[in-house]
Symmetry: C2
Subunit: 246 residues, 2 copies
């Protein structure tokens, strides 16, 4: 009973999110149906990160088991890429994994990128792939304030109300903000994240970039351990699951 | 009677091309309708490059005249960005121009980028924005062969049959091929290009990248002055008008 590990790129805009839901198409469902078309088997495709509606992935990692051992990894990759069409999903890599590999629970590091398009004109080429913020943002001030969030903290202030994590405590390994041409890039690395954590942090750092908040305000918001003390939730459009480490 | 010069970004996938046509929506039509919504005036928006269906622009340049002098450049930019919604078009810049400025005829340099996604997996995040070529391409061989096309030549071999240019002779100022991560980027600079010239060159250089053609084959194809001697036309998806110089 082989276990396959796949690396998946997708554009999240047309989906209700990674996870299978009754109210619309999910990346998980699309992949599970592709596996069924290949093998005739109904499987669960388990992802490392349950990205929200509209959130993208450059390299989500997932695994699934097949009863049959008829398929090698190369066939799996080619067949899934064929069967997920025309959904904006691509299987970048597939390999056989050990039976104790678990895409979600074995993951030790997740990296996300948040892209803000920081110019007056709205996005055309990257519509749905960035958050358009027309006011000029101070990336250096955002980066400095972001450092107040690095480390082990109670992130209740940046946690979605309906977050299902047992604890609001997480360790943020790094959080950097830099200007890249017309964009501001926020890169976040941690073993795991709370629901909406990066989008809530991004919405807060945007206030710093606009000069409405200081680093001290961010520190106070974190200390308040109260979602109402944080900034607004940034839209999903700019968020990318970049990689998962094991 | 003010003349406005605008710089426009667009995703070409949903359009029949830059130029207004009876058979579908064009970027020109969308902009002309936006100008009419702002001013009540029916104008012609003249573009520097008449990009084909599916071809994108990072910074197309265009001009139009208004009878009224009620609008400043800032208002024009904001209003056009508002009125072109929800089309994937963004006006990045607007300014008043001299009456003798002509977006097309005053242009002295045009820069294009062709993006090939060169990996086994198809495009997901960049679907419609790249040409997916799964075979590994030799970018160095492509670059070397490309140098045979630089300079003043009769480009009949790389010219669309229905090209309306008076002469097939053009001067290609530079043509570079480089690997950028999973992509191959072809950058082309010239005063002006023939219809399909870059897409036909790209389709030919791909043959070199695959090892099917040599630089000598490209030289011979150019010398043949016969479209049938060239490689196939690359799809429009990967082509971007990057900038126009005056």
């Amino acid at each position: 009973m082989p276990r396959f590990r796949i690396t998946v790129e997708y554009a999240g805009g047309d989906f209700v999110g990674w996870q299978r839901q009754a109210n619309g198409p999910s990346i998980q469902q699309s992949l599970e149906e592709a596996v069924e078309k290949l093998s005739g088997e109904r499987v669960e495709v388990v992802g490392a990160g349950r990205t929200d509606a509209g959130v993208h992935a450059m390299a989500q990692v997932a695994h699934f088991d097949l009863e049959s051992d008829r398929f090698d990894a190369n066939t799996v990759m080619k067949a899934l890429n064929f069967h997920v069409k025309p959904d904006p999903i691509a299987i970048r890599h597939a390999e056989e994994a050990d039976g104790d590999f678990h895409a979600r629970f074995s993951a030790t590091k997740r990296s996300y990128l948040y892209r803000i398009l920081n110019r007056r004109a709205p996005a055309a080429l990257d519509a749905g792939r960035v958050w358009h913020v027309p006011q000029v943002l101070d990336a250096e001030a955002m980066h400095d304030a972001a450092q107040a969030l690095v480390g082990h903290h109670d992130f209740t202030t940046f946690r979605a109300k309906h977050c299902q994590a047992q604890s609001p405590e997480k360790t943020l390994d790094s959080l950097t903000v830099s200007r890249v041409g017309e964009e501001i890039h926020i890169n976040a690395h941690a073993r795991s994240f709370l629901h909406h954590q990066i989008r809530n942090i991004t919405g807060t750092l945007k206030l710093v970039g606009e000069g409405k908040w200081t680093r001290k305000d961010v520190e106070d918001a974190l200390a308040a351990k109260d979602r109402a003390a944080g900034g607004p939730t940034a839209p999903p459009d700019g968020l990318y699951l970049v990689s998962v480490g094991y």
